[in-house]
């Protein structure tokens, strides 16, 4: 919790969600926690925008969902990637890399110092 929270860039939330569920089905709360964990707590997903994003992705056919049991015997809604979702994740990841590299060139810094890669360290 030592790291200062960074606001998620407009339009990157979808990509982060796709990445989070690419490792296996997750329910909404777990998606949020996974993103926080991976980023070492630097990325705080606003709880309010998580569910609209999930619904948007599902409606777009990138995620599918089913109800299942989770910890504490609760019924939870699990999301997983569809084929289209996997494709989109790949594409967005590539795009993102290219974008951050390009921005890095402009700013005169290495890729490592910018974007997602940096927050990870």
């Amino acid at each position: 919790m030592a790291k200062p929270a960074v606001e998620i860039l407009q339009g990157t939330l979808d990509m982060l969600i796709l990445k989070a569920v690419s490792l296996g089905p997750l329910h909404g709360y777990a998606v949020m926690k996974r993103i926080q964990q991976i980023s070492g707590g630097a990325l705080q997903v606003p709880q309010g925008s998580l569910y609209p994003a999930l619904a948007r992705l599902q409606h777009g056919g990138f995620l599918k969902s089913r109800w299942g049991d989770s910890e504490n015997n609760r019924k939870s809604k699990f999301y997983e990637l569809t084929a289209a979702g996997r494709k989109r994740l790949q594409k967005e990841t590539t795009d993102w890399r290219q974008l951050t590299e390009a921005i890095g060139e402009v700013l005169g810094t290495s890729t490592l110092e910018t974007g997602l890669a940096n927050t990870k360290s």
């Binding site: 709880q47 609209p52 409606h59 777009g60 109800w67």
Partner: protein, 902 residues
């Protein structure tokens, strides 16, 4: 794609499941978060609270989730509708008042539009009606109202490339004898052979006329076939009795086809040399596909040079091609548009009233709305809710309005004058339904926009914070409110000024001098049948073996003379006379005919054609019916057959053709052979003189309508111009002229048993001549009264609202010593201010738009001072009256009670 579609379908169909799942998912999330917090050592209750708080507005998240699933449109419409329905059903009085206003407004404008559609918009019921045109010529006054002479037509058939057909027709009174021997009078049109091809209507039975067919056959109208011949399926080829002989039936026209109007049957025109130059026919053309009117017109212009100058005017004929629809609608367009505009204004006023209702209700709902916003409902959502509410109101108003319009049209058709073309049916077709839909939508947006906007304004958050008593939220709707009421008063002023002008104009018409003594008058129209009084004498055969036919109308003149004498001898008859047309009886119009003045240089192309209506009267007509002799003498019994031709002209004639000169003593001659003994014209009358001297000038009489200026007229004695169709006009001594009808009827039967007679009372003729004006005036007066009432309601609503808003201020004033009278005048002043502002706008608009009523007015300025003074005063009085009740309420506010409540 498919997944998306399925998701959408699932979302729409399984709405409640979707909602409960969403609820479960969010609850699950919060519970999991709380569990984590507990695991971190937070006490359970505290953890629950924190989880909830940090999650934020659940409703807002739900909204966003719903929005993110492309079902939003269908979905949110449903949600909005449910919200609107709940909101409206909570305040039924408000909803009913609003719906009633909108029903009235939409109903009136839908009825108005249906009439516009029926008369002006819908296509004529003929195949490819857009290719049908009326052919006219430019009349001496420069208007395209001139008629066609038969000599024009053969060239028009044969020497043009732009036409698919051309036909000429003329109207006469006809007669058909049914199987049982009863004679039925009805309209007959003589037409040329292509008539039915031009209109291209599928015949109900048989055929139309054929090219170069001998002029003996008859085509019946559908109603004649049905009513007189009992829809006889074997009517074709049968010989029936018509006005001048026996004719075979070759066809029956389709139902509803009675072109050019009220046709009972059609016969073929006979081409007669005597008529070749008579410019008295209507002509219709069918253009070839793709041919524009202008092209046909220029081709006809070229043809006109080949035809040479007109025999009467000695000028080249200028042809004009008009869309048939324009011709059929005639001068009705401004009236219909005026009435429709009035209904549109009424709708606008109704809209403003409902908008005001919504606004004042909205102010009461500011807290509800602020609460919704605080709970996370977006501005767009609230705006949508409120707009849906007004759309729901307007939809109810639209549906009920459609029903009201249907009923209103029924009433309208019953009171509408019978001579309005194309009004026999006012259909509710797609155009009307589309208009209804658009009008309803527009109304909903119009009434809803301002209130919805001001209520969804973000300034409301401040309002919640200060506990609901802030003045800030009230200002905006209040100002909009005032502006709307001012606009409403302005519109009402406009409408009432219009109605006022029409009322004044109508009054002018009623008191207008028709130019003759009309009191206690009854008239009898008689069209002497051919078999009742014979005008032909068949002599011995000539050298070729053909019988020599000679004729004279002396027996007809004799018939009317005897009738006049007998009726004159009845007790109770004050005056009796015969005249070919009864003043103000528009059904008996006499056509214009040409004449020349002897001794004047032959008119060349630069001189306007000389035309006048010819009238035939008994010599005593002028003295008996108060027509003054201004110069020379009136007609005398000595102006009979065999005596030199003598005519009397009216003032308008003298002014137009003898300006600054005395016409008495001049001699007139007549270029056409109409009413001379020729094969055809002789059927209707006879003029026995070729030249006539003008022996006198008489004052003008209004023959057509009171509103139309008199036309130049030449009066012949009915001995020298004798017509089969004539009127006997009688002034009775007793107050009720109808009482004399049986006695007159007996005299007619005594002279000749089988002569049909139609009686009319002058006051009926007079009243009938004003139907159009009365109709327009009554409708506009009704609309004006409704507008006034709606405006009064609007002012009342605003002032009541304003008094309620300012109650504490007024209480403070009263506590500080303001008297009840001062409070009263405070509120009344505000009412007067609004009234005056609205009046200024309305009067301004009336001045700008005054041309719209100009064509409907008779002898009154469009800026009539009386109307422009009285209407604003009335509106001011209404504004004060409507403010008075709320003002009284304000004056009665008890400061002690009021301030304690604060």
């Amino acid at each position: 794609m498919l997944a998306k579609l399925l998701d959408t379908i699932r979302a729409v169909l399984g709405r409640s499941r979707f909602e409960s799942e969403l609820d479960a998912e969010l609850t699950d999330h919060i519970a999991k978060y709380a569990d984590d917090l507990v695991a971190q050592g937070v006490p359970p209750e505290e953890a629950q609270r924190r989880a909830r708080r940090e999650f934020g507005g659940v409703e807002k998240v739900k909204d966003e989730v719903r929005d993110s699933r492309a079902v939003t449109l269908a979905d949110s419409v449903l949600r909005h509708l449910r919200f609107a329905w709940r909101a409206l059903s909570r305040s039924p009085v408000f909803a009913l008042t609003a719906i009633a206003s909108l029903t009235l407004g939409l109903g009136a404008s839908l009825a108005g539009f249906s009439v516009v559609n029926a008369v002006l918009l819908r296509a004529l019921p003929y195949p490819h009606a857009d290719r049908l045109v009326a052919l006219r010529t430019v009349a001496p006054d420069g208007k395209p109202t001139g008629l066609i002479a038969p000599r024009d037509m053969p060239r028009i058939y044969e020497n043009t490339t732009t036409l698919d057909g051309a036909a000429v027709c003329f109207y006469t009174e006809g007669r058909i004898v049914g199987r049982d021997g009863t004679a039925h009078n009805m309209g007959r049109y003589g037409v040329t052979d292509q008539f039915f091809q031009v209109f291209d209507v599928p015949m109900a039975l048989g055929r139309g006329f054929r090219r170069n067919e001998p002029p003996v056959s008859v085509v019946l109208s559908y109603s004649t076939w049905r009513d007189i011949f009992g829809s006889d399926p074997k009517i074709l080829g049968k010989v029936i009795e018509v006005e001048n002989g026996s004719r075979p039936v070759v066809g029956v026209a389709p139902e509803g086809f009675d072109f050019p109007g009220h046709a009972g049957y059609w016969t073929l025109m006979r081409h007669s040399a005597g008529y070749a130059n008579l410019r008295g026919y209507q002509a219709y053309l069918r253009l070839k596909p793709g041919v524009r009117r202008e092209r046909a017109e220029s081709e006809l212009a070229a043809l006109s040079r080949d035809l040479g100058p007109d025999a009467n005017t000695h000028r080249l004929v200028r042809f004009v091609v008009q869309p048939l629809l324009n011709y059929v609608v005639g001068d009705l367009k401004p009236t219909v548009i005026l009435l429709f505009s009035a209904t549109a204004i009424l709708l606008l006023i109704a809209c403003i009233n409902v908008a005001n209702l919504l606004l004042s209700r909205g102010t009461a709902r500011t807290r509800e709305m602020a609460l919704r916003q605080a709970l996370g409902a977006g501005r767009t959502r609230i705006f949508g809710h409120l707009l849906t509410e007004s759309l729901l109101l307007s939809a109810a108003g639209g549906v009920l309005g459609l029903a009201l319009a249907a009923g209103g049209i029924g009433v309208f058709l019953r009171i509408a004058p019978a001579d309005i073309p194309r009004l026999a049916t006012v259909p509710v077709d797609w155009t009307v339904l589309l208009f209804a839909l658009a009008g309803t939508l527009l109304t909903g947006l119009l009434i809803g926009f301002a209130p919805a906007w001001s209520l969804s304004h973000p300034g409301l958050r401040a309002f919640v914070n200060d506990g609901g008593r802030g003045a800030s939220a009230g200002v905006r709707p209040h100002r909009t409110f005032g502006a709307l009421v001012v606009a409403e008063i302005g519109l009402a002023v406009l409408l009432v000024i219009g109605a006022g002008l029409l009322i004044r104009s109508y009054h002018n018409l009623v008191i207008a001098d028709p130019g003759f003594r009309s009191e206690r008058m009854v008239s009898v129209f008689i069209n002497v049948p051919f078999d009742a009084v014979n005008v032909y004498t068949v002599g011995p055969p000539d050298a070729r073996g053909r019988p020599q036919v000679t004729g004279s109308y002396a027996p007809i003149a004799e018939y009317f003379r005897e009738l006049e004498n007998r009726i004159g001898a009845l007790s109770g008859v004050e005056a009796v006379s015969a005249t070919s047309s009864v003043p103000l009886n528009s059904q008996q119009g006499d056509g214009l005919q040409a004449f020349t003045v002897m001794g004047r240089p032959a008119p060349d192309a630069t001189v306007a054609q000389s035309q006048a209506t010819f009238r035939s009267v008994s010599p005593n007509f002028f003295s008996a019916f108060g027509v003054r002799v201004i110069a020379g003498r009136g007609l005398a019994p000595s102006d009979r057959r065999g005596a030199p031709g003598a005519v009397v002209v009216n003032e308008t004639f003298a002014r137009r053709y003898f300006p600054g000169e005395n016409p008495v003593g001049h001699t007139l001659a007549y270029p056409t052979n109409l009413w001379r003994f020729t094969e055809v014209g002789f059927q209707y009358g006879e003029r026995v003189v070729d030249q006539t001297q003008i022996v006198g000038v008489v004052s003008d009489v209004k023959y057509v309508t009171l509103a139309e200026p008199p036309v130049p007229s030449i009066y012949f004695s009915n001995e020298q111009l004798t017509l089969r169709r004539n009127n006997i006009v009688v002034r009775t001594a007793q107050a009720n002229p109808a009482a004399l009808i049986p006695a007159i009827r007996r005299e007619i039967d005594a002279v000749h048993k089988s002569v049909p007679a139609e009686f009319s009372l002058y006051n009926q003729i007079f009243s009938a001549s004003l139907t159009r004006q009365r109709f327009g005036m009554s409708l506009l007066t009704i609309f004006g009264a409704l507008a006034l009432a709606l405006a009064a309601v609007g002012i009342y609503g605003l002032m009541s609202y304003s008094v309620a808003q300012r109650a504490s201020e007024i209480a403070v004033r009263a506590a500080l010593g303001a008297s009840a009278g001062q409070v009263l005048s405070l509120i009344l002043r505000r009412g007067a201010q609004l009234g005056l502002a609205g009046i200024a706008i309305g009067v301004g608009a009336a001045v700008i738009l005054r041309r719209a009523v100009a064509s409907q007015l008779y002898e009154i300025s469009t800026l009539d001072p009386a109307v422009f003074l009285l209407v604003p005063l009335t509106l001011l009085a209404v504004a004060l009256l409507a403010s008075y009740v709320p003002a009284r309420r304000a004056a009665k506010i008890d400061p002690a009670v009021m301030l304690r409540a604060e």
